[in-house]
Symmetry: D2
Subunit: 133 residues, 4 copies
């Protein structure tokens, strides 16, 4: 299953070339992952209650086409791979049928003091719903 | 005494008109106030140790001239007035001799749970150094 | 008539106090105004074709209650007053029935080179739909 | 030669974990590259006069350690490789001797209409000064 979340380009995210700055895509991708976690009942507050934080350790992002004023974009998010210490997400940003950007994200789990820890088994179970076939 | 802090315009803060978005000025003004608090040894970590937060309750901002690519700006910060519950800051952003923006800021003090509280007397003493003549 | 637009708090807009930074409210208010202009067929591209820019010259913002993780907010936007050189907007941010922030905005119109100019009469006509009773 | 530029963490860039959000690192890296281009007299205005834009087509970023309140960071920027269509930058963010993040950036050159074009030979000559040994 693919998680989908819609974001609309905001004026202040546009640069002098009338394009969305590449760092704003990185922010949209984060919004997509957090919306997925919320949909699974593992939003920030639930994670905090469990004493856990999700920490991004690496991203690999391709910027294929520019987004512009007023564009409505869809952020697609899937789980690509569950490893011992990190979960790898796979994401895309689309405008209609056009893919504007793709991203691989490796995220680790830490405790409330920022020390690396195993992923919560219940969260891994929940994420499986979005695992890529 | 006037507190001065230099910020340089960043590319991603520019909008399609090649001007700094007005919300970025609000961010520059915040940077100026926090630098002043740090200069007085009341940075965020010191405030946290004291169990206090500085919370902005109101701003009144005039945008007089646009800032553009590569501009180096000076944020000037003074204390305008100490009231019972709030401290009023007075700020300006300059590019050389030109005033680009002015701002009045009313800030309150809260405890760690966000409940309004009196300003720390030691902080009020320290702020007096920057009180407007 | 009041224009309403929904924004959802994004993780990166939260500060160490777990509250939306005050500059993000200023950005939400901008989103609300631009959505209103688009709804009236005077979005950025239409304004550009007409050789016009809307420029914020002043804001007066009250921050009444903090917004937090996952909050869904409604930005309400009305026209308060049309003056010779500026239009005054009146805006609120709500979470359900609670008012989190209010803002008055004065905006001027410039030509493509940033020189002050009269507001387009067709735009003033359109804005009248959102004029406060 | 390595280009170095100092940035200071801003309060609004901190997230609820009291860490700089990962998208802010991507912004710091952009600041570093643009400062390098300015140092070589190929800032945004010079590029605009030459009818050229530098467009990021891909990034690969590792986030190794968190940055926190008040941290002063150094962005190091080098040219890793000049290819036919893209230039690959190699960057690091340091706090003192600690490496907080690394990034590879592939950037393309376009004309003023966003069409891919060859890199300006004078710019490639200038960038050679920062080529990694």
């Amino acid at each position: 299953m693919v998680h989908r979340h819609t974001v609309k380009v905001r004026f202040y995210e546009l640069d002098p070339y009338n394009h969305v700055n590449h760092s704003a895509y990185v922010q949209y991708f984060e919004v997509g992952r957090i919306e997925m976690l919320e949909a699974l009942s593992f939003g920030l507050e639930a994670l905090e209650r469990a004493g856990r934080q999700v920490v991004v350790v690496g991203i690999e992002t391709r910027f294929l086409r520019p987004a512009g004023p007023g564009d409505e974009l869809v952020v697609e998010t899937e789980i690509r791979e569950v490893r011992r210490a990190t979960v790898r997400w796979s994401q895309r940003i689309l405008r209609g049928d056009e893919v504007l950007a793709t991203q691989l994200v490796d995220a680790a789990m830490t405790d409330a003091d920022g020390r690396p820890t195993r992923w919560l088994p219940q969260l891994l179970d929940a994420l499986a719903a979005y695992e890529r076939a």
